[in-house]
């Protein structure tokens, strides 16, 4: 595998992690997942109905995509820890996308509860991938707590506002020794490419694909954008200049 994404003990050839939320139905979701080339995809945990199936899990199994359960909807460390433990039982994985949000309007992470939950879950043997603010100090604290990656937001969940503070993302990347995964806020392909150009190891997105007019086509766009951004980062971009510099010989 050329240039794999390594998280904990796993290697992925795709650097695009997707979510399954927001898709109109499982058929649309399947086409988008295939077009994205993703190998790791988030799912949520909710109360099961009598006779209710596990359609999304069956789909991921059939496509050979690893499920990444999240703790969406949790407001406290205690709730998130219990949800992660239930997800481990239901899905048979000790990986978790840890989300502990402060309120419904911003869905921004609650840093105090997040760090508390991360510490508890690492101690309990989980591979913890925390959804965090674009705060370079908190990112370091989460890494010190034993998280397998840090996942700073570009902007709030579902807004499509892109990366509002690119410098903070660069600061997080500069000091991290675990993968940095840009999570939340991606609106279109250029946002995903920028995340990779800033040095992120991967991009996690859902809404930008599942609620696009053509999810399958946007999924393909995101796949190419992540690859392009990764290549550009490795290639080393030219310095930005104020004045023009001719690229043709003067005479």
């Amino acid at each position: 595998m050329d240039d794999p994404l390594v998280i904990a003990d796993r290697e992925y050839s795709s650097r695009l992690i997707t979510g399954t939320g927001g898709a109109a139905n499982l058929a649309v979701l399947e086409r988008a997942l295939v077009a994205s080339g993703t190998e790791l995809t988030t799912v949520s945990l909710r109360r099961v109905d009598a006779g209710g199936g596990t359609g999304v899990l069956d789909l991921l199994t059939r496509l050979g995509i690893d499920p990444l359960p999240n703790t969406a909807g949790c407001r406290t460390a205690a709730e998130a820890v219990l949800t992660a433990q239930l997800a481990r039982e239901a899905l048979g994985t000790n990986w978790v996308k840890l989300e502990v949000v402060a309120d419904d309007r911003t869905l921004l992470p609650d840093p105090v509860e997040l760090l508390d939950a991360a510490t508890t879950l690492v101690d309990d043997g989980f591979v913890v991938l925390p959804y965090t603010n674009d705060d370079p100090v908190l990112a370091l604290r989460l890494e010190e707590a034993g998280c397998a990656a840090v996942m700073p937001l570009g902007s709030p969940i579902g807004t499509g506002l892109g990366i509002r503070n690119p410098h903070n993302i660069e600061l997080i990347v500069a000091r991290a020794s675990v993968p940095v995964i840009l999570d939340a806020g991606i609106g279109t392909a250029s946002d995903a490419a920028l995340a990779m150009e800033l040095g992120c190891s991967a991009v996690l997105l859902a809404t930008a694909v599942t609620r696009a007019e053509d999810p399958e086509r946007m999924a393909a766009a995101m796949r190419h954008a992540v690859t392009a951004g990764r290549l550009a980062r490795a290639a080393g971009r030219i310095p930005q200049r104020f004045w023009a510099q001719a690229s043709s010989p003067p005479r």
Binding site: G19, T20, G21, G22, A23, L29, T42, V43, S44, L45, R46, R47, V48, A50, G51, G52, G53, T54, V56, L57, P67, L68, P69, N70, A72, L82, Q85, L86, A87, R88, E89, A90, L91, K97, E99, A206
Partner: protein, 66 residues
């Protein structure tokens, strides 16, 4: 006895185990996780864990999200 499953009051046989409650209510046994009064019951213990009267069960599964 009366218990609460996913927020809904249910009547099940006295001394029922977690596995028996799931079966009686037509809930799947695979791809799910069960918490009784806020504590996870490991799958291996479903058949031997007796549910107490008035207990509250949460039965969860994976859905689209995130």
């Amino acid at each position: 006895m009366r218990i609460v499953v996913n927020g809904v009051p249910r009547e099940v046989a006295d001394g029922a185990t977690v596995a028996e409650v799931l079966a009686a209510l037509g809930l799947p046994s695979a791809g799910i996780a069960v918490a009784v009064d806020g504590a996870v019951v490991p799958r291996a213990s479903h058949a031997v864990t007796v549910v107490a009267p008035e207990a509250s069960l949460e039965v969860l599964t994976a859905v689209q999200g995130g």
